[in-house]
Amino acid sequence: MDITNFTISDILNGYKEKKFSVGEIIKFYLERIDKLNPELNAFVTIDENAIKNAKDLDNSLARKRFNSQPLFGIPLGIKDMFLTKDVRTTAGSKVLENYIPPYSATAVTKLIDAGAISLGKLNCDAWAHGSSGENSDFGNTLNPWNKDYVPGGSSSGSAVSVAASLVPFATGTDTGGSIRLPASFTNTVGLKPTYGLVSRYGVIAMASSLDSIGHFTKTVEDSATILNVTAGADGYDSTVAKREKENYLKDLNKDIKGLKIGVPKEYVTNALDKDTKQVFEKSIKTLGDLGAEVIEVSLPNTDYAIATYYIIQPSEVSSNLARYDGIRFGNDRSYFGKEAKRRIMLGTFTLSSGYYDAYYKKAMQVRTLIIKDFTDVFSKVDALVAPVSPTPAWKFGSKNDPLQMYLSDALTVPVNLAGIPAISVPAGFSENKLPIGIQFIGPHFSEKLLFQIGSSFEKKTEHYKQTPLLR
């Protein structure tokens, strides 16, 4: 049986029909990691307890938990920004090269309590700073579709581990596109939930007013299955809203006839690469075929999003990274890499005495205008559809200027500034066979609707069935 490209629901069905044991599944994935990871460099740490944890689930008493644990025996990869008790957590930085956390992030605890088995920790841009994955202090993660091309960042290892079937799902963080961008570069599904839906407790903070905790899967259905587990207040993150629990799987099979989906005209400009534009236009047509009413809308302040984001985010980064003094844990500040240094200094400057009003306060005011753009547009349409990145993945080393790199986030950061949810789904390929994703964007807490649209699109197009050729 070829279990490459298995989804979470495939594995659960296999367990149900007793086609394989948890131990066999875990062994399959660990062997695949053993074979492919030395080149791809997606995992930075392997969890040595995985085989033992699998065995524990295979005893007859534990088997009874199958119906109550939605992720029973499902292998999981964890972005190295999430604290894992007794398992090294680096944030992709040499500052935390030897850091062993004394507790786990809430999202991790919830996934493990639901039956998932961690296979280890995944590479990322140091402190989640990056659009390409090239800022990790532990080396580049390679794009399995073409190893000369970047996998996208910052959740580079997470995207690649799912794309290369080293795990069926992985956690990620999205502060300015760090889930959606690598998902679109690797033909995976990446969810950035509403700010304040999933607890950030125990996740190393990047920019606290923007950080959102999400995940990578092969399908939209799997994405909803994971959100069912991770969403909700834990009492440790005061930004998580206390809301009634939703079942995100509920509307997956509902069609999208009559839904109004807007295309923001500011996202579809001449700056779009030719293949990206073509794939996007084809996707719009598909949505029309599925019965949605696709109309052009406007988000007039889009052009100011990157400037706003690159004031607010570094300001918050400089404050969050101030705690790394090398005294209580970790190495001292001389271990910070170049990108972290740049962002710390940029944020220190924009917050410094005499400049606060001109930069930080100004950016917070423009943020209000960007939010208003979305509020206005969601009074006319149910959701938005847009490209995720202006181009497919680029070659390693081809964007050397930091500002040029920052501009790669132009189509992802507005969502973070507004705190709304978005999901990146596979939409096709470029001429040279690099994946291209599109994103569906909705109002606050509209994840169920995004899964409904994403699932309809996915069932019609089935791009997720295509996998990279790996030896």
Partner: protein
């Protein structure tokens, strides 16, 4: 506005080499020039947004001992501990 890299590095508690100072100086000034495009927008009277949840006065559980790390756990990240305390460099030189 030009960034004084030396001053900002000091405020950030970062030590830069001479070549880093030069490299970052150019890059940071480019970025600052870019973000100044916000000056084109009139924001007079616009309320700044610091957070997007709309939640107010969220307080945590008062029983702080429920979730406390043990002393051993809290010290577990540092090799340089003494009698259950972190060892730090001398901050004030009393001989001067």
């Amino acid at each position: 506005m030009k960034i004084d890299v030396k001053k900002i590095a000091k405020l950030s508690k970062l030590t830069l080499t001479a070549s880093e100072e030069k490299e970052f100086g150019g890059q940071l000034n480019n970025i600052v020039e870019y973000i100044e495009k916000l000056n084109a927008i009139d924001t007079k009277g616009i309320e700044p947004t610091a957070q997007v949840t709309g939640l107010k006065n969220v307080t945590r559980n008062d029983n702080y001992t429920d979730d406390m790390l043990t002393q051993e756990q809290a010290l577990s990240g540092d090799k340089n501990v003494h009698n259950g305390l972190f060892v730090v460099d001398k901050l004030v030189d009393t001989n001067k």
